[in-house]
Symmetry: C2
Subunit: 195 residues, 2 copies
Amino acid sequence: MQTKGQETRHHILKESRKLFTRQGFRTTSISEIITATGVKKGNLYYHFPSKEELGLAVLVDVRDEFFILLDDSLIGENPIVKVLNSCNAIMGMMEQNNFVGGCLFGNTALEMTDSNSRFGRIIQEVFSQWKSRIERELRQASGAGLLTSPIPANALATAIIATLEGGIMLSRVYKNKNGIEDCILAIRVLLEKQE
Amino acid sequence: MQTKGQETRHHILKESRKLFTRQGFRTTSISEIITATGVKKGNLYYHFPSKEELGLAVLVDVRDEFFILLDDSLIGENPIVKVLNSCNAIMGMMEQNNFVGGCLFGNTALEMTDSNSRFGRIIQEVFSQWKSRIERELRQASGAGLLTSPIPANALATAIIATLEGGIMLSRVYKNKNGIEDCILAIRVLLEKQE
């Protein structure tokens, strides 16, 4: 069971995450966070000494949740099916939010990586870990003769993640799932066995 | 020849664009724009009555420049080569900027489309026009028997743009060209003739 303090921390993280996802980190003010959470300023600063610390904690929270989703969705009868299932699970998550907000990692990558190295490091770590999980499946698929792509596993894993991120962005721009659906179709073709 | 007023307008657009690209639209203040341009506040407001008008003018300016780059780079002995050349030209442009800032359309898409419909409309228009130019080449390639992808031209054009945008984002995150290079490799495979 969570203590009262843990509950408050969790509540602040969830509400701040909504704000950061919808409107970005820099434009979200501490007073907006106070209004959204109903937590007093002193209590907020007790849990997170600065907006930067709060932003980093939100990113770490979303990262942990994302890797749970990724592990849970990397399932199926073979590594190719696993990768495709994980792509579909990510699309499902975006669709659930009606494509509002998009991907917090992608957003933060564009907003913060040039200017804040602590944010940059977490974002790099998320994409690197995600890539290495996909790459591992692709190597297994190659080993089992299920994948004969002319693209090395390493580059293919990067391209799959980039394609998904781009698709999420286009789905957000047009507020429909066409962008990400077209991208998953392309990923499917990239993973088809080349004769 | 430009009049003095046109020169000033042009100068404001170029300097504001650097700021918006590097740090986003919302966090760039009018006083930062005044400092960067050296233009007096009254003169700035004479040319652009609000930060929103300035932001929209910058987007329109970048859009026009982008479509010149796209038209100039959609060249080659056949439609497939044309599309690949345009992707390489976009990568070259990003590399020139050392991947700082990335793609202003992508950034603005993530920052503004949920909250400002005027920005959203320009971004939608840019991606739609870009897509229709790529799609036209893909249809010509199909007609000439150069492309036999299982993905419809319409969806393939979307996936190509999404993959590039995702690659630009990853290149920005890691400050190297691997992301976008891996993506162009994937686009090349998507455009290969399927037997």
